[in-house]
């Protein structure tokens, strides 16, 4: 992966800054909050009920927080915001998070 966002000084005024990434790119933001590696977690969407790997979720980054959306129905499943007050984690759009033991690793 190699990604970047345009500056506000770009010819389009940084209009591309809403770039959609995936959960792999968002994993660093979640890694300090969850105990394990986020990308191997299976997340069930609270809206449509589809389960998908965290790494497959749509990730919206570059704003004040990181928002994860369901790849099937685009409903928000989770978000993280880092503020001077503290770190906000909102998982209200998801119904479950399945943490599998990593095979062959302690």
């Amino acid at each position: 992966m190699s990604w970047d966002l345009p500056t506000a000084a770009a010819p389009d005024g940084g209009a591309g800054s809403g770039t959609v990434l995936d959960g792999n790119a968002a994993a660093g933001e979640f890694a300090g909050i969850l105990a394990g590696d986020p990308t191997t977690v299976t997340v069930r969407c609270g809206s449509c009920g589809v389960a998908q790997a965290f790494g497959q979720l749509q990730a919206y980054m570059g704003g004040p927080g990181t928002v994860l959306r369901c790849r099937e129905c685009e409903a928000m499943v989770a978000r993280v915001a880092r503020t001077p007050q503290g770190v906000w984690l909102d998982m209200s759009g998801s119904s479950s998070w399945l943490f599998l033991p990593a095979p062959g690793r302690a």
Binding site: M1, L5, L21, G55
Partner: protein, 273 residues
């Protein structure tokens, strides 16, 4: 897990648990650069305390301006694990906020912050029991080739003989990353660590290349004649979102179930690389 929170000391004594490495920013110093294409380069960073990573993982890089403004981006690790050392290959986004600095301005000795390694899903560790004897199909769009080449390098270093094919979609010859290395890796398919490489040019084809310019198609992901099985045990796809969606569609049409496909998407560019 890719890191451990408790380690055994030299005399077997338990060492105090360190904070989880993935979310811990470390100071990194640029110690080497290598041009990879006309708009990308590999940065080699010295990162004290870096204990290693798995092929396919990435790091977050953070740049901080004098006024305190900071920006962070994710880049795939470009080399197999070496203690104290991290390499990333950065593709230039014109008018990007971070990549022009990393590709054109940053000099040896300059510092930035690194966090990682991150991710355990888009990873191929040689010997992975869920892959067995393979084969493995790697599909890259543009700079999505970086983590896949790291997988190929790790496989070669480990002496792993899993049959592997890399399908690499790119716009034209000037966009080719790792050209000499891929040519060497695919020259003699009986050599250890070799892999079949299929270059899929989408706009401009170099002289003598057999395939005309067009987008990735069903024929490009066909099984290799060297595979013992008619389909791959695992497929890794990395590239821009539109490219990954297109490749995933082709794989489903070819009969691949979703649980054999692992994807990593990035960037705003479209399907054509």
């Amino acid at each position: 897990m890719t890191d451990t929170n408790t380690t055994e000391g030299p005399a077997g004594s338990s060492v105090k648990a360190t904070p989880p490495a993935r979310n811990h920013w470390r100071k990194a110093t640029l110690i080497g650069v290598r041009s990879q294409s006309q708009h990308s380069r590999t940065l080699v960073l010295r990162v004290p305390g870096w204990t290693g990573h798995l092929p396919g993982q990435h790091v977050d890089l953070r740049l901080t301006a004098e006024d305190g403004y900071s920006a962070q981006r994710s880049y795939s690790l470009a080399e197999p694990a070496t203690p104290g050392r991290v390499a990333v290959t950065v593709d230039l986004l014109p008018h990007g906020e971070v990549s022009p600095y990393l590709v054109e301005i940053m000099q040896i000795g300059d510092e930035l912050d690194v966090r990682g390694p991150i991710g355990g899903w888009f990873v191929w560790e040689p010997g992975d029991p869920s892959i067995g004897d393979g084969p493995v199909l790697l599909i890259a769009g543009g700079s999505g080739v970086v983590p896949l080449v790291t997988m190929l390098r790790a496989r070669k270093r480990a002496g792993d003989s899993t049959p592997t094919t890399l399908v690499y979609s790119l716009r034209g010859p000037r966009d080719l990353m790792y050209g000499p290395e891929l040519e060497e890796m695919s020259a003699d398919l009986s050599a250890p660590g070799s892999a079949e490489v299929r270059l899929v040019y989408t706009r401009k084809v170099p002289d003598g290349h057999p395939r005309p310019a067009s987008h990735l198609a069903a024929g490009d992901i066909r099984p290799s004649s060297s595979w013992p099985e008619p389909s791959a045990a695992r497929v890794y796809v990395c590239g821009p979102s539109g490219f990954v969606d297109h490749a995933t569609r082709l794989l489903r049409e070819a009969g691949y179930p979703d649980d054999r496909i692992r994807t990593e998407r990035f960037g705003p560019t479209g399907v054509d690389r």
